[in-house]
C-alpha cells in the first residue's frame, strides 16, 4: 500500500504500516493506525489533516521522539532501505538523525535552548555528525546563518535565542536542520506560530533551500494554501490514517475522499463574500475506541452500509489513492473551492 515514489531511484524514507499507541489513563489511544508513506529524493510531500489526525506523531516517530506513554506498536520505518527500529536500527537512527534527516518544529519560541548561544546550538550538530572542531563548526555556522538570511551572522552566533524574533528563530532552526546538508527535512507546522508576513518568508526560504540543496521535504500543516504553494504530493490524514494521497494539484482539483472534499470546502477564501465559515459537522472519532469500518462514516454525507467495513487505500488514478468505497463522488452540494496559492 505504499505510495509510489515520484523518482525512479529507491525512496529515501519509507513508513510501512506504522502503528503508534499511547497508554493513557483513558485507555489505549491508537495514535497511528497503519500509516504507510514513502518519500523520494527531491520530493516535497505535504501532510495535511486536523489536530489529532496523526500528522505530528508520524514525524515524531521518524525522529525517534515518541516518548512514554507512547510506543510504536507495529510497522516499520526505513531510511534508505534500513530499518530505524529495534536495537540495531536505533543505533543507525542516532547517526542519521540530525545529519541525513532533520526536523524543524512548530514553535520557534520554545524550540531553542534559552540559555545556550545560537552558535553553540548550531555548532554541536556539526561537531556531532561531521566531527568538526569547535573552530570549524563556528565558521560553518556563520555560513549557515547567512544562508538562511540572517544578517551579521558572526555577531549573531554569540547571541542567545531571546535576542531573536520569532521569524529569525525559525531561520536559526532551519539553519540547524540543514547544517549537515540532510537529504530530508521534516517541517512540522513550521509557520503556524508566526505572523502571516513572516510565514511567507519562511516558506520561500524552504522552497529556495529545496532548490539549492536538492532537499526532500515533508511539510506537515493544516494550512491547505501552504501545501498548494510548495508541495508536489499531498497525503491527507484523518483519525490516525492516510485517507487520500496524490499529486497536490489533482487532490485540490478533484478530491476523491469526502473528508478531503469537506476540508477544501471549509477553507475560507478572501476573494469570495460569504456570511459564515463552512465546517464539517461532527467531530473526529475517539481513538481509544475507533469505530469499525470507515472512521469518517459518522460525519460523511455519503455513508452507507458498505462503510461498516473499513476501506483500504486503493488506486483511483495511477498516481492517486483514496480509502473510500465511493471515491470521487461529490459529498456536498456546494461547489468545491480549491485553496488559493499562498505566494
Amino acid at each position: 500500500m505504499n505510495i509510489s515514489a515520484m523518482s525512479n531511484n529507491e525512496p529515501l524514507l519509507e513508513i510501512d504500516r506504522l502503528k503508534v499507541e499511547f497508554d493513557t489513563r483513558r485507555g489505549l489511544v491508537q495514535g497511528l493506525r497503519g500509516v504507510s508513506l514513502s518519500i523520494g529524493r527531491g520530493e516535497t510531500l505535504g501532510v495535511v489533516g486536523e489536530s489529532g489526525s496523526g500528522k505530528s506523531v508520524t514525524a515524531q516517530a521518524v525522529m525517534g521522539l515518541i516518548d512514554m506513554p507512547g510506543r510504536i506498536a507495529s510497522g516499520d520505518i526505513r531510511w534508505k532501505g534500513r530499518s530505524l527500529l529495534g536495537a540495531e536500527g536505533e543505533r543507525y537512527a542516532r547517526d542519521i538523525r540530525g545529519k541525513e534527516v532533520a526536523m524543524v518544529f512548530q514553535d520557534p519560541m520554545t524550540s531553542l535552548n534559552p540559555v545556550l548561544r545560537i552558535g553553540t546550538q548550531i555548532g554541536e550538530v556539526l561537531e556531532r555528525h561531521l566531527g568538526m572542531t569547535r573552530k570549524q563548526a563556528r565558521t560553518r555556522s556563520e555560513e549557515l546563518l547567512a544562508a538562511v538570511g540572517i544578517s551579521a551572522p558572526g555577531r549573531r552566533l554569540d547571541q542567545h535565542p531571546h535576542e531573536f524574533s520569532g521569524g529569525m528563530r525559525q531561520r536559526v532552526m532551519i539553519a540547524m536542520a540543514i547544517a549537515c546538508e540532510p537529504q530530508l527535512l521534516i517541517a512540522d507546522e513550521p509557520t503556524t506560530a508566526l505572523d502571516v508576513t513572516i510565514q511567507a518568508q519562511i516558506l520561500e526560504l524552504l522552497a529556495e533551500l529545496q532548490q539549492s540543496l536538492g532537499l526532500s521535504i515533508v511539510l506537515i500543516t493544516h494550512d491547505l494554501g501552504v501545501v498548494a504553494g510548495l508541495c508536489h504530493r499531498v497525503a491527507v490524514m484523518y483519525a490516525g490514517q492516510i485517507i487520500e494521497t496524490g499529486l497536490a494539484e489533482d487532490v485540490f482539483e478533484r478530491p476523491a475522499h469526502p473528508y478531503t472534499q469537506g476540508l477544501l470546502r471549509s477553507t475560507p477564501r478572501l476573494d469570495e463574500v460569504s456570511d459564515r465559515l463552512i465546517s464539517i459537522d461532527g467531530t473526529p472519532p475517539n481513538l481509544v475506541t475507533p469505530p469499525d469500518g470507515c472512521s469518517f462514516q459518522q460525519r460523511c454525507p455519503l455513508s452507507g452500509e458498505a462503510c461498516k467495513k473499513a476501506p483500504q487505500l486503493a488506486h483511483i488514478r495511477p498516481d492517486a489513492e483514496a480509502a473510500c468505497w465511493q471515491p470521487s463522488t461529490p459529498a456536498w452540494a456546494t461547489p468545491l473551492m480549491s485553496p488559493s496559492i499562498s505566494h
Binding site: 525522529m63 525517534g64 521522539l65 542516532r94 547517526d95 542519521i96 538523525r97 540530525g98 545529519k99 532533520a102 526536523m103 518544529f105 514553535d107 520554545t110 524550540s111 531553542l112 535552548n113 534559552p114 540559555v115 545556550l116 554541536e124 550538530v125 556531532r128 555528525h129 542567545h160 531571546h162 532552526m173 540547524m176
Partner: protein, 306 residues
C-alpha cells in the same frame, strides 16, 4: 557589570548598617553581662566598676555613637569572655566554620546534581522512588537528633570515628554529613523536579532530533537550565548554613567554629563578641548574594542585572 557591582556594594553597606543597629539593640536584650560575668557575691561597687570598665554605664545614645564609630574602624572591642579583641576570636574561628560548610555543602551540591538527574530520567522508577523517599527522610529528621544518632552509632558503638572536636579528615565526616543531609535532600528534590520539567521542554526534543548523544542532551541542555533554580537554592543553603545550621551542628559535635562560638557568646552574655560575629556573618551574606547574582547572569543570559 561594573555599575551593577558598585550599586550592589552600596546596597550591601546599607544592609550591614541596618544589621549593625539591630545587633546593637538585640545584644543588649540578650542579658546583662555585668550579672553574668561577675560572681554572685560581687558588691554593688564592683558591679558599677565593671559596668564602667566596659562602658555600659554611659547613656545609650553615646554607646551607640561610639559603637558605630568603632565598627567603622572594625574595632569590635574586647571579648568579655576571652579577654582579647573580639575580631581576633571571630577570625580565628571563622575558617573552621567555612571548612565545615565547604565539606558539608560541597558534598550536598556535588551529590544532588547527579542523584536528582538520574531520578528525573525515569520518574516513578525505583531510583526515583528511592531518592524521593530518602529525600523526605532527610527533610524530616531534626538535624541535632540525626547528629547525635550518628555519634552514638558510628563513634560510640562502632568506634570508627571520633565523637567530636576538630582534627584530621576523619573528624569532618560526621559533622559534614549531618550538615549536608537536609541541604542534600532539598537540593536533590529541586534538581529532580526541575530536570523532569526541563526534559519535557520542546528544546530537549529539538536536541534529540539533532541526533545529539543522550549524555549531551541531559548534561548540557537540560542541566544548564536546571542550574538557574539550583543556584538560588544552593545560595540559600549556604546562607542558612552560615547563619544557623552550623550553630546546631557545631554545638552537637563541639566543632570549634563560629556557630559554637556564637552559642557560647550568648551563654556568657559576651555582647562584644556576639556583635563581632553577627557583623561578620552579615557581611559574608551580602558578599554571597552579590556573588550569586553574578553567577545567575553567567548561567542565564536573560537575567538582567539591575
Amino acid at each position: 557589570m561594573g555599575g551593577f557591582l558598585l550599586r550592589r556594594i552600596a546596597q550591601g553597606l546599607l544592609v550591614v548598617i541596618g544589621v549593625t543597629v539591630i545587633v546593637f539593640i538585640a545584644t543588649r536584650m540578650v542579658g546583662d553581662p555585668v550579672k553574668v560575668m561577675l560572681p554572685l557575691s560581687a558588691t554593688d561597687e564592683q558591679r558599677a566598676a565593671f559596668a564602667q570598665q566596659i562602658g555600659l554605664d554611659r547613656p545609650i545614645g553615646t554607646q551607640f555613637v561610639d559603637f558605630v564609630g568603632d565598627m567603622a574602624r572594625l574595632d569590635f572591642g574586647e571579648s568579655l569572655w576571652q579577654r582579647r579583641p573580639a575580631l581576633d576570636v571571630v577570625l580565628e574561628r571563622l575558617p573552621n566554620t567555612l571548612k565545615l560548610i565547604g565539606a558539608g555543602l560541597g558534598m550536598a551540591i556535588l551529590l544532588s546534581l547527579p542523584l536528582g538527574a538520574i531520578a528525573a530520567l525515569r520518574p516513578g522508577g525505583w531510583v526515583d522512588r528511592t531518592t524521593v523517599f530518602v529525600g523526605l527522610f532527610g527533610l524530616s529528621l531534626p538535624q541535632f537528633w540525626f547528629g547525635l544518632l550518628m555519634i552514638v552509632f558510628f563513634a560510640v558503638t562502632l568506634g570508627w570515628l571520633p565523637t567530636s572536636g576538630m582534627g584530621g579528615a576523619r573528624y569532618y565526616i560526621l559533622p559534614a554529613i549531618t550538615l549536608a543531609l537536609p541541604s542534600l535532600a532539598r537540593l536533590v528534590m529541586l534538581v529532580r523536579s526541575s530536570m523532569i520539567d526541563e526534559l519535557n521542554q520542546q528544546y530537549v526534543r529539538t536536541a534529540r532530533a539533532k541526533g545529539l548523544h543522550f549524555k549531551r542532551v541531559v548534561m548540557v541542555h537540560a542541566m544548564r537550565n536546571t542550574l538557574v533554580p539550583f543556584v538560588t537554592l544552593a545560595g540559600w543553603e549556604l546562607i542558612s548554613a552560615l547563619a544557623g545550621y552550623t550553630v546546631v551542628v557545631e554545638t552537637v559535635f563541639a566543632w570549634p567554629g563560629l556557630g559554637l562560638t556564637a552559642m557560647q557568646a550568648i551563654q556568657k552574655s559576651d555582647l562584644f563578641l556576639l556583635q563581632a560575629i553577627v557583623f561578620t556573618v552579615a557581611v559574608l551574606i551580602v558578599v554571597i548574594n552579590v556573588g550569586l547574582d553574578v553567577i545567575y547572569k553567567f548561567i542565564d543570559p536573560r537575567i538582567r542585572l539591575a
